[in-house]
């Protein structure tokens, strides 16, 4: 009988082995909104890569004779107050916005995870210090904190990126810390210790890989927020500088002409909105796919 039971599964399942990532991909594909989000994200990434080559006009060629023209077959998205083609500027701006969004998130995810892991795994006073600093940072409205950072560093796109990275650190840090705290008590971590593993090996090979999924999800969602924050800083004049075709900056420049030339403001706004929706939908889809416990 024992032999029989033991041999049963061998004949029953010979199918190929699917790892956790493959299964996540399978369930990600099932969600229409997630796929749509991923589609939008991929579209904008492509725009960021090849957009400047597609741009029908130069971005900084001013021609006051054609200022504030409505959308037409020649200028699809119209022109702005200095006679620059809005479409071309949006295509160029995609690269700026995505670079700022993605690199700010990578920076904050890296430093946030590092601090979170240290706080969660080593605990005690080091945890107290890191957690309290996070609490203090989270006590400020994030955009206010970003403005403060930019004011210290001086307004530029690079400094806006740094500011956004800094204000997002506590989000990642707390997320990873709580995750590490939970995983630290899992039995397979005790098992790893019982085997005789070093702390560093346990941390990097067992705790970290199992803490990655919320980082991926949070990272995707944070890119959306970071793009908005970059645009907000640009709008306030604290991010991109004058001729740069950053979307938030474009909004700010066009707001004086909102009534007689709304296209100069609508199209950059739509670009921001679509990118953000894309990242949000993709992030939600990733969360459902990577964390089956969240599903109901």
């Amino acid at each position: 009988m024992a032999e029989l039971i033991r041999n049963l599964p061998q004949t029953a399942e010979q199918e190929k082995v699917a790892g956790p990532w493959k299964e996540a991909w399978r369930s990600f594909r099932k969600s229409k909104s997630a796929v749509a989000g991923a589609g939008i994200v991929i579209f904008f990434i492509l725009v960021a890569i090849i957009g400047p080559m597609l741009a029908p006009q130069g971005i900084n060629e001013q021609n006051l004779a054609i200022r504030l023209l409505p959308p037409s077959s020649e200028y699809w998205f119209g022109t702005d107050d200095l006679g620059r083609d809005v479409l071309s500027r949006i295509l160029h701006g995609a690269r700026l916005s995505l670079t700022v969004g993605i690199s700010a998130v990578i920076l904050s995810a890296f430093f946030g995870s590092l601090l979170g892991i240290i706080a969660g795994y080593y605990g005690r006073w080091i945890d107290t210090i890191i957690s309290r600093v996070f609490d203090i940072m989270l006590a400020f409205p994030s955009i206010l904190l970003a403005i403060a950072v930019v004011s210290i560093l001086g307004p530029s796109l690079r400094n806006a990126l740094i500011a956004i990275a800094i204000i997002n650190i506590p989000n990642f840090g707390r997320l990873i810390r709580s995750r590490v705290l939970a995983i630290k008590e899992e039995e397979y971590i005790h098992a790893a210790k019982a085997i005789g593993m070093k702390n560093s090996r346990i941390l990097w090979r067992h705790i970290l890989p199992n803490s990655m999924t919320p980082i991926i999800v949070q990272g995707t969602l944070a890119i959306a927020t970071a793009i908005i924050e970059a645009a907000a800083l640009g709008f306030l004049g604290l991010g991109a500088e004058a001729p740069q075709p950053e979307w938030g900056k474009m909004l700010a420049d066009a707001r004086m002409f909102l009534l007689n030339a709304p296209w100069a403001m609508i199209f950059p706004g739509v670009a921001i909105m679509l990118t953000v929706i894309g990242f949000n939908l993709m992030g939600d889809g990733l969360r459902d796919a990577l964390d089956p416990k969240m599903k109901n």
């Binding site: 599964p9 397979y188 005790h190 098992a191 019982a194």
Partner: protein
């Protein structure tokens, strides 16, 4: 009797309780309080007790997964409790552990091959090729097949996972295996398979087990000697036969009378204990069992009974029996 492999002397593990804003220490949970026992090569020592009595903590304190508060653990002539962290890590090669929950004790992101190979890598055993071969060998030893190696834990049943957990414990060729409720999470039919596997492995590989469980039937089946724990203390320790036939401690008697007997016509006297287990944070004075003991005497409330051998190889911590001796 065969060689002494593990000697546990006055092992204590207190968990501090922190309270308030500043985390001031307000007391201890005495999870393991002054436990001593010996384990001999090739035997199986069962440790039983109800949940919360400290039996799992005892197992983990031996391996220093929970750092013992006090006491001495000597394994194969080496004092584990005085080793440095690094030395202790190396010593774990010879003492391995099988965990209770086969669903939680395997890293869900690693394949079986990776899980089983890791102990070898950590202890620097063999080259990549030899390690692979060892993984396949041990998979077969525990009744699985080499092609299972590429799979992930979630693709196995509970019984299969526990076999993997056992294989992992065997990889470094240890002398002692501490099995912490290894079959409690399994179906009864699978329990028997896993127990039989463990017994077979013990014979083939000359293993020594400390088998922690709350199921008295399972413990009797597998153990040569059995220790009974109550509220962090060892109250009785004897060879299986004599413990199950002539239990001396009133707590053991009560425990054994609660074991169901698969015979509807069988009439027996069941000893019902009054009250709940006292909190290990604030255990009763004297004998910790006196609050529930049907034979409690005045002395039990004041004096903690010492753990003494009253018959050949049968030790008990109870004033009822110490008196007879004196």
């Amino acid at each position: 009797m065969s060689n002494l492999l593990l000697k546990v002397e006055n092992l204590k593990k207190y968990f501090p309780i922190h309270k308030g804003t500043f985390g001031t220490k307000s007391g201890d949970v005495k999870a393991v309080d002054d436990v001593s026992f010996d384990v001999y090569e090739g035997e199986t020592l069962g440790i039983v007790g109800e949940s919360g009595c400290g039996k799992s903590t005892t197992g983990r304190a031996i391996l220093r997964l929970h750092e013992p508060t006090d006491g001495k653990v000597t394994f194969d002539g080496m004092e584990l409790t005085s080793l440095s962290k690094g030395q202790m890590r190396k010593a774990r090669r010879n003492i391995q552990m099988v965990f209770q929950d086969p669903y939680a004790s395997l890293n869900p992101r690693h394949t079986i091959e990776k899980i089983l190979e890791e102990p070898l890598i950590v202890h620097g055993i063999g080259k990549a090729k030899e390690r692979k071969q060892l993984v396949y060998d041990y998979l077969e030893i525990v009744g699985l097949s080499p092609y299972h190696a590429k799979r992930y834990p979630h693709q196995f049943s509970g019984g299969q996972r526990q076999r993997i957990g056992i294989a992992r414990a065997l990889m470094t060729n240890p002398k002692l295996i501490i099995a912490d409720e290894p079959v409690s999470a399994l179906d009864v039919s699978i329990q028997a398979q896993v127990l039989n596997l463990m017994q077979k492995l013990q014979n083939d590989l000359n293993l020594t087990y400390i088998f922690i469980a709350h199921d008295l039937g399972v413990v009797r089946h597998i153990s040569d000697r059995v220790g009974v724990m109550y509220l962090g203390r060892m109250v009785e320790l004897a060879d299986s036969e004599s413990l199950y036939e002539t239990p001396l401690h009133p707590y053991t008697q009560a425990l054994l009378s609660a074991v169901p007997i698969p015979d509807p016509t069988y009439q027996r006297e069941q000893i019902l204990l009054a009250g709940d287990i006292p909190s290990p944070r604030n255990p009763p004075q004297g004998c910790t069992f006196h609050t529930r003991c049907p034979f409690a005497m005045d002395v039990c409330k004041v004096v903690t009974p010492s753990f003494k051998e009253v018959k050949n190889g049968h030790s008990v911590a109870c004033h009822l029996h110490n008196e007879v001796q004196q």
